[in-house]
């Protein structure tokens, strides 16, 4: 019996210490916050109509954007994964992606508005007034032009395909890439818990 126990312990100790699931890094998503060369990259697959995504964006990712991305420590990429069970998620994704084409400042304004008023537009399907409330009239008319651009739909389809490729089955799911290694996490993580990991990765 002792021999078996010793063998098991030796076998496990001799294997690689980190057995966390790794996923391929890369992708062509632009940083909605931070710079592409940042030491840490967080790629979030999200659905604007999903309540957990709302919580994750407002309580976790917004502070990450403010405290880490603006300081150039983290590049945050948001990818669209509108779930079919959410009737207005696809349209919301269009608004957000079109806003990205105007600039990341606009993406932030539109995302803030969409997530903050999620319950309202989820119930009545009226997205345009919510988005218009976050932008000036001039910016809104520019956004409408982008909404008609097939490149926006193509980008959303590309994000959905990438989600399938990476076996993302739920939202929010995010990938943290640092030091050449990518880790996958599904679900909502509190800011203070994510912050500990980011500080560890950044060597603080």
């Amino acid at each position: 019996m002792r021999t078996i126990v010793s063998f098991l312990i030796l076998f496990l100790l001799s294997s690689a210490p980190a057995t966390a699931q790794t996923a391929p890094g890369g992708g062509n998503g632009a940083c909605v916050g931070g710079e592409p060369g940042a030491p840490v990259r967080i790629e979030v697959f999200s659905d604007y109509q999903c309540p957990a995504c709302r919580q994750f964006y407002l309580e976790t990712m917004r502070p990450v954007l403010d405290n880490y991305a603006s300081a150039g420590k983290v590049c945050v990429v948001y990818r669209e994964l509108p779930l079919t069970m959410h009737a207005h998620a696809r349209e919301a994704a269009h608004y957000a992606h079109a806003a990205q084409r105007l600039g990341m400042r606009y993406w932030r304004l539109v995302s803030d508005a969409l997530y903050e008023s999620q319950s309202q537009w989820s119930a009545n399907g009226q997205l345009e007034p919510v988005v218009a409330g976050a932008l000036s009239e001039e910016d809104m008319s520019r956004l409408r032009k982008w909404m008609e651009d097939p490149a926006v739909e193509a980008a959303i389809l590309s994000d959905i395909a990438l989600a399938r490729e990476r076996n993302v089955t739920a939202t929010p799911t995010f990938f943290i890439t640092a030091q050449g290694k990518t880790e996958k996490v599904s679900g909502v993580v509190q800011y203070s818990v994510l912050q500990r990991y980011l500080d560890h990765l950044l060597g603080q």
Binding site: T171, E183, S186, V193
Partner: protein, 142 residues
């Protein structure tokens, strides 16, 4: 004879799995903190305490199960711990929360499969505890 074989089987399976589960978590403590946090059951301090202590507890339990030392107590504690895992997973799944199981590594969401697997392990632990207590029972004087 069959019960004795079953006792050995449960003890070795549970012991090896507990040891392995604890070992994988120790390799990535921050990822395990995030996995515990996705259950949305604890405040940040509670998440950190659980995530930092649970892997060591699993390793110690795994070694004790493999060694078979004080099996009645160890198996009972294992059954209680497995029951607590199962309860936390079931509550989280029933609430419709997307969470990482965090059972044997990371990136595995809680699903009917993970619940079924942990239920089976819970059954092993309960059997082991009952069997060990029965075996240890001192016959009453006549």
């Amino acid at each position: 004879m069959l019960l004795r074989v079953l006792e050995w089987f449960c003890r070795l399976v549970l012991g090896a799995l507990f040891f392995f589960a604890g070992y994988t978590k120790l390799g990535s403590p921050f990822l395990f903190e995030m996995a515990v946090d996705t259950y949305q059951l604890l405040p940040p301090v509670g998440v950190i305490v659980v995530a930092r202590s649970l892997p060591w507890l699993e390793i110690v339990l795994g070694m004790l199960l493999l060694r078979g030392w004080k099996l009645n107590y160890v198996a009972t504690f294992t059954a209680l711990l497995m029951g607590a895992f199962l309860l936390a997973m079931s509550i989280t799944y029933a609430r419709g929360i997307e969470a990482n199981c965090g059972c044997f590594g990371f990136g595995e969401p809680i699903s009917p499969q993970t619940l079924a697997r942990d239920s089976l392990l819970f059954a092993f632990a309960v059997f082991l505890a009952i069997y060990a207590w029965r075996k240890n029972k001192v016959p009453a004087p006549e």
